[in-house]
Amino acid sequence: MNVKQTTVRERRLGITYSSPMGIWLTVFFMVPLLIIIAYSFLTKGLYGGVEFPITFDAYLQMANPNFMRVLLRTVWVTTLATALTIALALPCGYAMARSKHQTLWLGMVIVPFWTNSLIRIYAWIAILSSEGFLNEMLKTLGFIKESLPLIYNQGAVTAVLIYMYIPFAILPLFTTIDKFDFGLLEAARDLGATKPQAIFKVLMPNIRSGIITSVIFTFIPIFGAYTVPLLVGGKDSYMIGNIIVDQVTKTRNWPLASAFSLIITLISTLGVLWMMTSTARERARIKQQPLKDREDTLGPSHNGLTSAGRVS
């Protein structure tokens, strides 16, 4: 009886404690989202804004080959940039976690954030343009005679997107790798695993949650990217973010802009749901482990060890 009463009271306290955050999220996150959903089903006003009646016009307009082309391009660029970002961030995070100067490296990852992102994009224009630093350097070193077309194409967009979002991938990877017990890698080697085997069968399964977080943290913002394709992209670099801005600022079609925003939001939500279910599954897996008094990080590594052992 007594115990039950306390839990009820505690639960009520929990609501009290979480209510400020809850109200904040409702007002500043849920309400704007509901407005976007509502707008996407309304008729476009002649001079911007929305009017009644409720229609599916915006969604019908979306089924247009021009938009589909941009949507496909956006998915392709985002997937490519995310994959390359993670591929680069993994060794970075690993090196940082093993380094003695972690604070220094962390600082170097974080410091660029203190500069406005637009300024950093303009810096890339100065680096990549035909008379830019990179081309001039290659010319001086004698590698090329004519400037290479490094900017105003898809390659430039992908490269600058990777640069912009790589810190978001490095930081979660670093934190998970930092918690990893590197002794396990040595143990795997002792049991006969090759170096790549140790990495892929012991390290990787253990930092899965970090990888998933990094993927989410890079995929979602890149999918909605707007300034990078606008500034370093060429004729062929439009992404969904650019369409949304165009529909609001040039064509005065708010319902269509809302419908596109909703698509981005839906894809992001699905990504987060995927992350949540995989972490939940991970946790369930750890709980099934026979060892009871072990640290959280040791759980999956035990699993990794056995699999490494089986290899030998």
Partner: protein, 352 residues
């Protein structure tokens, strides 16, 4: 003990915060205590002009900026903006007059209206008597050519069809501008609603101009032009020359193609809900005081398109002349037909 101390620290911080807000809120009061709220394009009224106005009238001027007419319009229709003077372009001035969003201008409070040129008022067909709007500046985008790289070129819109310059040219990321240029080049109105004429313009842009362009750009092209990346760019003179040191201005040929093209007329209007209507009139009058208006023209090297006497007071040469605009046409609002312009723009911008 510890929690007590913490609570005290928080309380002290809160008191400090409220105090700072109160102090900073009060400290900027001026003699008359009045504040004029402007809503203007970015970098469109020189700082020195604003300072002179503040000093002379003993008021404070607060400026908010917009980057497009659509941004401005959205904010004003949102209601309760509290701006005293706003600077919309012709299409939105017309819309705002139609939608009854503006306070009438009282000509007795603006004696300097007598300086407004008939050239500007003839173009302002939506308000030729300045009942709701007073012209601020009339101009057009043109073409800038880097003369150190390009020596032999056509001084009209067909320069964008020049395959020798492929990969070195950019046009504005603006459907009404680019489609308008093609329409003017073909001899049509820049605000046409004839699907045949639009189809011709679309064909011209997609088949002859676009293959030679690096991109459509309204943000970074001036920087790329100054870096030598782009040799021929379409854009606004003030934005292009702003990126270049004055000693390099001689390297640039800026011209308005004689076939004509779209032109803009920005006006000063007093929206309904403005709190300082008298002060707003004083500001508009102040802007059109000849020596003040000349200061504005000098800052941006503009020709005196809307003012009759400021031209003589100017010290700097203009990047283009009033006569160059003779063949140019104001971009009028095309209303619901804008959707057709957007369809054409999609084939230009989204498909490669």
């Amino acid at each position: 003990m510890k929690t007590h101390r913490l609570r005290f620290v928080f309380l002290a911080l809160a008191v400090l915060l409220v105090a700072t807000l109160l102090i900073t809120g009060c400290s900027k009061k001026t003699e008359s205590g009045k504040t004029l709220y402007l809503y203007n394009w970015t970098y469109y009224t020189p700082e020195s002009v604003i300072e002179k106005f503040e000093k002379e009238f003993g008021v404070r001027v607060v400026i908010d900026y917009f980057a497009s007419n659509e941004d401005m319009f959205t904010k004003l229709t949102g209601g309760g903006s509290g701006y005293d003077v706003v600077f919309p372009s012709q299409d939105y001035t017309e819309i705002m007059i139609k939608q009854d969003m503006l306070n009438p201008i009282d000509p007795s409070k603006i004696p300097n209206l007598s300086y407004i040129s008939s050239f500007a008022l003839e173009k302002a067909t939506y308000d030729p008597k300045m009942e709701y709007s007073v012209p601020y500046y009339l101009g057009a985008a043109g073409i800038a050519v880097n003369k150190t790289e390009v020596t032999d070129y056509a001084r009209d819109w067909s320069i964008f069809a020049d395959t020798r310059l492929a990969g070195r040219m950019s046009m504005l990321d603006d459907p009404r501008e680019v489609i308008g240029d093609a329409l003017a080049y073909l001899g049509y109105s820049v605000s046409t609603v004839d699907p045949k004429e639009l189809a011709e313009a679309q064909k011209l842009i997609n088949e002859q101009w676009k293959p030679n362009l690096v991109k459509f750009d309204a943000e970074g092209f001036a920087k790329s032009f100054s870096l030598g990346e782009f040799w021929v760019v379409q854009g606004y003179a003030e934005g292009i020359f702003e990126e270049l040191d004055a000693e390099r201005w001689g390297e640039v040929d800026f011209f308005l193609p004689p076939d004509g093209g779209p032109m803009y007329l920005d006006s000063m209007v007093i929206p309904k809900g403005a709190k300082n209507i008298d002060l707003a009139h004083q500001f508009i009058n102040f802007i059109h005081r000849p020596e003040i208006y000349a200061e504005f023209l000098d800052r941006f090297h503009f020709p005196s398109t809307v003012h009759t006497t400021a031209e003589q007071l100017k010290k700097n040469d203009s990047f283009y002349e009033v006569e160059d605009l003779a063949t140019y046409e104001l971009k009028y609002d095309v209303g619901a037909y804008l959707a057709e312009y957007d369809k054409i723009w999609q084939t230009i911008r989204y498909v490669n």
